[in-house]
Amino acid sequence: MRRALLLNLPLTAYTAVLELQRGSAAARKDGRLDRDLVILLEHPPVFTLGRRGGKENLLLPEEKLQERGIDIVPIERGGNITYHGPGQLVCYVIFDLRRAKLSVTELVSSLEKVMIKTAEHWNIQARGDKEHRGAWVSQRKLGSVGVTIRHGISFHGLALNATTSMEPFSWINPCGISGCTMTSLSKESGKAVDTELVRRQMLGHISDIFNLELEPIQIEHLKKITGQV
């Protein structure tokens, strides 16, 4: 097993963690961060656009989102428009891919697998899809994947809907696929889902699938390493 760091955060603003991800990827590259890093958290409501945009898949005027206090953040990850919000577990993987002996496709497949295995705890049979990446239950999308590779270091990662409100997804064509319906663990299982429990389940599978021994790190300590104090 490889030793890696785990930053476990509560509900945290998207842009704050975006900077931390970028800083961590740079620190991983030049060795200031001597191990791979996993960040697990939830975000307040936000829409993010992938590298190739996705604003055309926003079905609501931007002002309507602003009225609701929801930002649209363009970022560098693969994929199209997506929504993050409370009840959705987001996991970022800052991995040195060559040292981890992972190809980009293997990384994406492994992230799908983390979501599929987590869904099994809730008696939900999800699957990956080679063309439309993510975790799917029949034709409904349970979780998304999108990563960036900068100088051989990955960042961004996966987003799994545990108890996420489905309403904001109706304001977009998720992932740029028209008619794509989103779903969640609570919706599919018909049960009350404890997101704390889902976090623990996910961490177990991250550790198994990537063969990592996860050691917690505090955000202040990580910021000191990345020089973002």
């Binding site: 560098e76 990850r77 693969g78 980009v104 990446r133 999108g146």
Partner: protein, 132 residues
């Protein structure tokens, strides 16, 4: 995923630490991504390239390659100005997978300082880095 000994890395090309290849063509340098990079990325669905005339500094990002749900950024350790781009990649990005060194080339650029070409790695130095 290919083993290092299975990689096709032509002797007559130079390479970067970020897995691009480069060769001289007159006073221009032709650049693409190498067999290691295309194999790592999997099926390429989109290639984002700069416009001819764009200038970039040493170490700047000059484009991206997108495989499904993954964007990889492209970098060059040489400053210069873009002279030409491979327009075919807009419709057939898969050429980068099938033929990374010929039909899958990405940009041609004019280096600010031609001697910078020597900053690139030869095949042996690149292989040593890969194994390291």
């Amino acid at each position: 995923m290919k083993e290092i000994h299975e990689l096709n890395l032509p002797e007559n090309l130079h390479y970067t630490k970020d897995h691009e290849w480069a060769r001289k063509q007159g006073d221009l340098i032709v650049v693409g991504i190498n067999d290691y990079a295309q194999d790592q990325l999997g099926d390429i669905v989109f290639v984002e390239l700069p416009e001819p005339g764009e200038k970039f500094s040493e170490g700047d990002e000059f484009g991206t390659v997108e495989s499904v749900k993954a964007v990889s950024e492209l970098f060059l350790p040489i400053a210069g100005e873009v002279a030409d781009i491979n327009e075919d990649l807009a419709d057939t990005p898969e050429l980068v997978n099938s033929n990374p060194y010929d039909e899958g080339w990405m940009i041609k650029f004019k280096p600010d300082n031609p001697a910078d070409f020597d900053k690139l790695l030869d095949r042996d130095a690149y292989l040593t880095m890969l194994k390291g």
